[in-house]
Amino acid sequence: MKKTSKILVSLLIVAVASVFAYEQYTHSQKSIIVLATTTSTYDSRLLDYLMPMFQEKYNVEVHIISVGTGQAIEIAKRGDADLVLVHSRQLELEFVNSTYGIHRVGVMYNDFIIIGPTNDPAGISGLANATEAFRRIVEAGAEGIAIFISRADKSGTNMLELSIWKRLGTTPSSKTQTWYLEANAGMGTVLRMANEKGAYTITDRATWLSFKNQLTNLKVLVEGDVILLNPYAIILVNPEKHPQRNFKGALKLAKWMISEEGQNLIASFKKEGETLFKPIARDFNKAHELGFPEQEEEIAWYDAQNP
């Protein structure tokens, strides 16, 4: 047994060591950055379109964690990501104010839309006011003729949805309202659920356009309200808080996304002939309007960096 256990122990050590060595080897081959981002940028395939071009040009490998905005920021705060690409002003500002995130810069925007069953039992079709649409959904829900599915995952979409309920002075919950379903799921899953159940929900336009073909029971009912605009920001993880992170790599990616080249590529990404994300990094007026008051300063800062 002594001999056997010696062999076993040495085998074990060799096995563990080789796994670690393999890991180290693949890590050392390339600079790697971890981008924590929302499901909308991933599910719409925008990042699958952009990242290969970036990786080719800079020889930096981008690992994408696609979760809700809340979770993406949480991951970055812990130091498990190098930068975030997210869409919730409130959570973004909290992230920056906590000094874990630095140099928040507007990258692009699209808009949210309220979608629902084609027969529209709440009668919201064509409304220009999202808050009014939500009020009618509450009423129809109380009558038992409408269902609303919430992401309920602290994503940017969910945060916006909650802010609209707040305007109405209510906070619906699955616990007390049978018409309100908290899915705790990504946008794609929620759209699919809404399609199956003939329910209302709120979605970003990019994900909607990517999935539209498969969602035959749903249509766009409310769009164009200014509160439905959906700006995306890049925020770097503060290297003073997490010095082990790849700050240089993150800076390279951020710089590229807001460069002329990156912005043009974002503008050229289309589904069914429609542009999914409109660039705003260098359109300062639009950026101010969408909640980036320091856009010029931040762009100037990024332009001055040379990672």
Binding site: K2, L8, A15, V19, E23, I65, G186, H242
Partner: protein, 228 residues
């Protein structure tokens, strides 16, 4: 038309699944079989109240851990390896290594538990005969382990089956990153969410074939065991 990247990706995903679960089970066996053997032997020893109590507690704990929910393991490993956690400095979160560690924690109790009962069920007389014929304790142990080898093999196959079909734990610790930490199970989750049912079903078929292969191997092992 299915492009070649479709098969490239499927290949990448399948290989990663096999690599992660295979490594976890290999290391798990190296740890679990010796522990299981030692614990199985305890049953031959004295029957004082205290040792019996310890035995019962040990067995219950191991049996509980055999059914450890993968998501809970994932959560714990996540908290250990996150950059702000105790092992954050290793930089292992969202890597295949983190996934291997997650599955390792899952499979060790399975291997220990099944090995333990296999060793424990070997005829008591074998060990006593060996000892009476002048074998040392170690030699007798080796003999019993050889007798129990079918059970040990079963434990390894069962562990591999559990590991390869696990999704909750590696989703949390691997992050499901395309071309890097996306396995058969986590890819099925994503592809279903994205509505890529061709991809999801293909991956499902591969996973099912692997599961079938495992069960086939298990059945053959058991039949062999029964014939002896």
């Amino acid at each position: 038309m299915i492009e070649s990247t479709f098969w490239d990706e499927i290949c990448n995903i399948t290989m990663l699944s096999l690599r992660v679960s295979g490594t976890a089970v290999l290391i798990g066996a190296l740890i679990g079989v010796p522990i299981g053997t030692v614990l199985g032997f305890r049953q031959f020893k004295g029957k004082q109240a205290l040792t019996r109590f310890v035995d019962i507690m040990l067995k219950s704990v191991i049996n509980t851990f055999m059914g450890l929910p993968p998501v809970v393991v994932g959560l714990v490993v996540y908290l250990l390896f996150t950059a702000s956690g105790p092992f954050g400095w290793l930089g292992l979160l969202y890597t295949p290594t983190a996934m291997i560690i997650t599955q390792l924690i899952m499979v060790v109790p399975i291997i220990v538990g099944v090995t333990m009962s296999a060793v424990g069920s070997v005829e008591k007389s074998i060990r006593e005969k060996a000892l009476s014929l002048g074998a040392t304790e170690a030699q007798a142990a080796w003999l019993v382990l050889r007798e129990a080898r079918m059970g040990v093999l079963t434990s390894i196959i069962v562990a591999f089956g559990a590991a390869i079909s696990e999704v909750g734990g590696i989703m949390i610790t691997g992050g499901n990153i395309r071309w890097w930490t996306r396995t058969l199970t986590t890819a099925i989750v994503v592809e279903t969410e994205l509505g890529n049912f061709t991809m999801a079903l293909t991956l499902g078929a591969i996973l099912l074939s692997i599961a079938f292969g495992i069960n086939l191997a298990l059945t053959i092992v058991q039949l062999k065991g029964a014939r002896r």
